[in-house]
């Protein structure tokens, strides 16, 4: 019902729908692997609905209903309500500060009753995507202008700021992915290059002794000045630029980075980031840790270690379905949510992981392809938003389980246990499918 009748407005992309179904199915199986205990009648406990996998099945049922509603809705609805929903999302996030419920250290949940809680920051991803799409597709917007770029950035970063205020650093980072979308829509690549250099500088700051790094930066600057001495004679303003770049770099590595680590981050966050590069962070320097009277905890990379053990012990072929010893022994904390990838890695090994990641990559490429076939900018921008968000979640989540990224609480899309997360990604994808069905229309 898809490619053959491209002109039909009813043509939903079946590939994405299949991928969606497969991934949700894999997710439920993974949660089942984590929950499974031999000797307990799996069917009985499934019917009982007390286990996480049965809850996840209920969630996916809800998601199917919701997805149907979205597919039946009019595409214009999304363009029309985009800004309004964005405002609604921001209000919800602000509301958490008042009526929020504290779950594992972050006050970002709104209790819905019946044991269910909603995390507005999750839903806000959808609303922000729509809002950016709306903004970039409006006729007044000229994205080559700096003003538009700043407004778009502000739309993207507003929920991020609120997330940081809710102590949800992971969710805040998601909003940075909108830069990929903006890059596609014409943001100068220089910004990406600069931000990449900045990242290198930050990592270098963590790795190298401050004084040595300052000397190294100075030497680099000196060499640059020496090699460019002819050009500097011709262009008088080149030297000040080099010197100011050098000063900014040294300033960042000497003052900005330590300030952020000691004053902005929580002690455990700094510790995690430091432990990523194999260093220990001294919590006594942390202002927030000083305020709380609790003694600084020892560096603990238990989670990553256990997660790497579980994945590493899977080997090439894996230990087999339900035969993972680490999974059954509950060695990996939070295995049904953020560390769900470990159960897959242990049970199905490298082959399973590669196939699984292949599915994800296929989904991403499919979405990019969908994006490029849209006539309306709104749909295209939105599709890129979806791709970027998915990409960010997958990358960060998988990288953190295999020890390539510090641990931040980010779920694996469509796989991790959790209603909010599943709901968000379902809405994201199915709005895209709805818009794609109407790709011949020009939506604004």
């Amino acid at each position: 019902m898809n490619d053959r009748n491209k002109n039909s407005t009813q043509g939903f992309d079946a590939t994405v729908m299949w991928l969606y179904a497969i991934l949700v199915g894999i997710g439920i199986l993974c949660i089942f692997m984590v929950e499974y205990k031999p000797g307990i009648d799996a069917f009985q406990s499934f019917i009982g609905g007390k286990t996480n996998y049965s809850k996840q099945v209920i969630f996916s049922g809800i998601c199917i209903v919701l997805a149907t509603f979205i597919l039946l809705a009019d595409s214009k609805l999304f363009t029309a309500f985009a800004n309004l929903m964005y405002v609604f999302g921001i209000v919800l996030m602000l509301a958490t500060f008042v009526i929020g419920k504290n779950i594992s250290g972050s006050k970002s949940w709104i209790p819905l009753g019946g044991g269910f809680n909603l995390q507005p920051a999750e839903l806000c991803k959808v609303f922000t995507s729509l809002a950016i799409a709306k903004f970039l597709s409006s006729q007044e917007t000229d994205f080559t202008k700096l003003k538009s770029q700043i407004i778009a950035t502000a739309i993207a970063l507003m929920p991020a700021v609120l997330s940081i205020a809710q102590h949800e650093l992971g969710l805040a980072l998601v909003y940075l992915t909108f830069f990929i979308v903006m890059y596609r829509e014409g943001l100068p690549p220089g910004i990406l290059v600069i931000s990449f250099s900045f990242a290198v500088l930050v990592v270098a700051t963590l790795l190298i002794e401050p004084n040595i790094l300052a000397v190294v930066l100075t030497i680099i600057a000196a060499i640059t000045v020496y090699t460019l001495r002819r050009q500097i004679k011709r262009k008088k303003n080149l030297l000040p630029i080099i010197i100011s770049i050098w000063m900014i770099c040294v300033g960042i590595q000497r003052f900005v980075v330590p300030y952020i680590f000691n004053n902005t981050f929580e002690c455990y966050q700094s510790t995690r980031i430091y432990s990523m590069v194999g260093k220990e962070y001294d919590c006594s320097q942390n202002k927030k840790a000083q305020k709380s009277s609790k003694p600084p905890k020892k560096t603990d990379d238990y989670n990553v270690r256990q997660s790497m053990i579980a994945i590493g012990s899977g080997g090439f072929w894996g230990k087999g379905f339900l035969k993972g010893t680490q999974t059954r022994g509950k060695y990996v904390p939070e295995q049904h949510t953020d560390f769900i990838f470990t159960s897959l890695g242990e049970a199905f090994g490298f082959v399973g992981c590669a196939i699984f990641l292949g599915l994800y990559l296929f989904l991403l490429f499919r979405i990019v392809r969908i994006a490029e076939r849209q006539r309306s900018t709104f749909s295209r921008v939105y599709a890129y938003c979806v791709a970027s968000i998915l990409f960010f979640h997958i990358t960060v989540n998988v990288c953190m389980t295999i020890g390539l990224f510090p641990i931040i609480g980010i779920p694996l899309p469509l796989i991790s246990y959790g209603g909010s997360s599943l709901l968000t990604f379902t809405i994201l994808l199915f709005i895209l499918l709805r818009l794609d069905a109407d790709r011949q229309m020009v939506l604004r």
Binding site: K37, P38, G39, I180, Y183, R184, E185, G186, Q306, M308, I309, A310, I311, G312, S313, G314, G315, F316, K323, T325, Q326, R328, G329, K330, Y331, G345, E346, G349, F350, C353, A354, L357, Y360, L361, L364, F365, V368, A371, E372, Q374, R375, T377, R380, Y384, A387, F391, T395, V398, C399, I402, G403, L404
Partner: protein
């Protein structure tokens, strides 16, 4: 606008691919090239549980179990599940107070977390077990867990059966490749040690999955890699447990030992080392405390004196001298030697002789004439054909060692002593190269440097009974399912004495029969049984100070078709004929007739049991330990009345002793295990010491 920037779509896709390649790269590193994660995962999650098989059982010669396994129960608690139980009722059930309950739970959580089961009370007594078992349903979180322990149903044979003990690092080093682990138990003494390989069986390994809190989740890979435990094999010993019981009873309050051997097989019938202890005393929950008590006891009850102590054999050695004299043709049965009261051949007037007269060999043995054997000994060694006493002694020793003297016999018990047959080399060092037989004349009557263990002495008796051969004495006759390691091979080899004719043995047997008929042993004849025996009364010294004589007796019976050979020693008791002789005679009767007949003989058993022959220095040492104990208790008695219970407990043993109940263990134990306590170390001397102590008060 859609055409605009379309090339960037490519670069975004390239970014996606690059990042995924990095992830795949790390996965290849983790899952394919790093083997350490697999090992780490195994260490994490797989728990190798060792399944201990039941140890083998040891039976006596009539197939009665004398060392077996029994089940006791540990009360095990999982603190997490035991929350909210009726603590008061529980404490009442166990007879503990709430404070100690709280403390124990606290300690358990501290040591072993709240989620794992830990032992709350180890090895419940049978009454306690039934009480707890009935009420257990009221206390979730508590379960009873079986535990196998060793028991000695007849309460005898502690020194020969031995005990098991947790292995130490030294043991682990010595037995590296035998699969022992820290915390295992292994035979530490006695037969438990000698036959450890057979008794221990084969341990099984079960691989289990455990979770992050070390709780067991089930078997790993459905038990594919598990190995089953194989129970230890049973041993059949030659011990006669009734004889052993009687022997231990007779040796009450004495220091010494008894060995009885079946001359035809070399099988040991009983092996008593006194003072003995009830082996059940050092199993169970109080094991460590009790073992410590025994280790500190000045009478050293844990030493097996039958193989671990060596003595000058005294007059029992004269049979040996006589036989060698006959074999060498120095004397014949009709040769007579006169004795005037002392041996004057060396000009020292030593050794002295008790009853003067002129003796043939038979009478000389019967009356244990020193002069006779001193003369024979000198003549044997000083034969002109040897040239010197030096080579004479070599020949003499060859005879003696063919009877099993001077070397370890190879009894199947650990730490056997070799005794001592002094060599020419030794005497050359001691007395110069031109030493004379007069230098070693004491050896002729078994004093001097000659030393034997009691099992060697019994073996000599058995060899005389057999007229020239013996099997190495041993406790184990056969092993269930065959002798896999060839441990019993050496007990099937017949050892012959060095060229001694049957007539020689007949002559010596005549002498030994005469001992019982009209000689030193006539006081403890057994009607209807021809016993051949020899008494011994051995002078001995402790750090140069003369002590009371050791009482020796060696015998076999009946003379024709001998069935039992026996050797007895009572240290520092006096004449051989007074103590050791009667004990041996009673045991012989018991063994040959299965019971002791006649009131007189039965009374003899009781009176011998009651005789206290603990040497004085040990009594003094015991008393000192006791007085230290009392001194330690005093400060507890004084301050508060609450402690009166503990004072009563301390008083109780003295009461029980006045009633004639032996045992130096606290009263609680005597109440609980009256059966056991009868065989536990007696010390009636305590009565005296208490009386002494009481005097000043009066």
């Amino acid at each position: 606008m859609s055409v605009y920037n379309q090339s960037r779509s490519r670069s975004i896709q390239i970014i996606f691919v690059l990042v995924f390649i990095v992830i795949i790269g790390q996965l290849i590193h983790l899952q394919i090239f790093s083997s350490k994660y697999d090992i780490l995962a195994r260490n994490n999650a797989i728990f190798r549980k060792v399944i201990y098989p039941d140890r083998g059982i040891i039976f006596d010669r009539k197939k009665r179990a004398i060392l077996e396994n029994s089940i006791m129960f540990d009360l095990v608690v999982t603190p997490n599940e035991a929350k909210g139980i009726d603590t008061a009722a529980f404490c009442a059930l166990l007879n503990i107070d709430t404070a100690s309950y709280k403390k124990r739970i606290h300690d358990i959580i501290f040591k072993n977390t709240a989620v794992k089961p830990s032992v709350f009370e180890a090895l419940l007594s049978p009454e306690m077990y039934s009480k707890v078992n009935e009420n257990l349903y009221k206390f979730p979180g508590f379960v009873l867990q079986e535990r196998s322990i060793r028991t000695y149903p007849y309460n005898v044979g502690g020194n020969i059966l031995g005990y098991i003990q947790e292995v130490d690092t030294g043991f682990l080093r010595r037995h590296k490749d035998e699969g022992y682990e820290m915390g295992d138990y292994a035979g530490y003494t006695g037969l438990e040690r000698s036959y450890e390989k057979i008794l221990m069986g084969q341990r099984g390994i079960k691989q289990l999955i455990r979770d992050n809190k070390s709780r067991i989740q089930g078997s790993f890979a459905n038990g594919e890699y598990d190995t089953a435990a194989v129970a230890g094999k049973n041993l059949y010993s030659s011990i006669d447990v009734e004889l052993q019981q009687l022997g231990e009873k007779l040796m009450t309050n004495k220091v010494g030992s008894i060995v009885a051997i079946n001359p035809k097989t070399g099988g040991v019938l009983c092996m008593v080392s006194a003072p003995n202890y009830n082996p059940n005393y050092i199993t169970g929950s109080q094991r460590k405390k009790h073992l410590g008590e025994l280790l500190l006891d000045p009478r050293s009850p844990l030493i097996n004196r039958t193989i671990g102590s060596k003595y000058s054999p005294g007059s029992t050695f004269k049979t040996m001298v006589g036989m060698i004299g006959l074999a060498e043709g120095i004397i014949d049965v009709n040769s007579t030697i006169g004795c005037t009261g002392a041996y004057l051949g060396c000009g020292t007037g030593k050794p002295k002789c008790l009853d003067p007269g002129t003796f043939k060999l038979t009478e000389a043995i019967a009356h244990s004439c020193n002069t006779y054997f001193a003369t024979v000994f000198r003549r044997t060694l000083d034969q002109p054909k040897f040239g010197s006493a030096d080579s004479g002694l070599i020949i003499f020793n060859q005879y003696a060692s063919s009877f099993g003297l001077g070397n370890k016999l190879g009894v199947d018990l650990p730490s056997e002593k070799r005794g001592n047959l002094p060599t020419s080399k030794y005497y050359r060092k001691k007395h110069g190269s031109k030493w004379q037989t007069c230098n070693i004349i004491s050896n002729s009557i078994g004093q001097g440097e000659v030393e034997t263990t009691i099992v060697q002495l019994a073996n000599v008796m058995s060899t005389i009974a057999n007229k020239g051969w013996y099997y190495t004495p041993h406790l184990i006759d056969s092993i269930d399912g065959g002798d896999e390691y060839g441990l019993l091979e050496k007990f099937k080899e017949k050892h012959y004495t060095k060229g001694i004719a049957d007539t020689v043995f007949d002559a010596v047997q005549d002498g030994m029969q005469a001992v019982m008929d009209f000689g030193t042993g006539s006081g403890f004849k057994i009607e209807g049984i021809t016993v051949c025996g020899k008494t011994g009364t051995v002078e001995n010294y402790d750090k140069g100070v003369k002590q009371k004589d050791h009482s020796f007796f060696g015998a076999f019976a009946p003379r024709e078709n001998p069935k039992i050979a026996i050797a007895v020693i009572c240290e520092n008791a006096g004449f051989g004929a007074t103590y050791s002789g009667p004990i041996a005679s009673l045991l012989i009767e018991k063994y040959l007739r299965d019971s002791i007949a006649g009131k007189e003989r039965k009374d003899k058993v009781e009176s011998m049991t009651k005789t206290n022959l603990i040497p004085l220095k040990m009594q003094i040492a015991l008393e000192r330990i006791d007085s230290i104990k009392r001194a330690k208790l005093k400060p507890v008695e004084e301050p508060i009345e609450e402690d009166s219970t503990s004072v009563e407990e301390e008083v109780a043993p003295s009461n029980s002793q006045q009633e004639g109940l032996p045992g130096n263990i606290p009263a609680k134990d005597t109440e609980n295990n009256k059966k056991k306590s009868t065989a536990i170390l007696p010390n009636t001397y305590k009565k005296n010491s208490l009386k002494k102590n009481a005097k000043p008060k009066r």
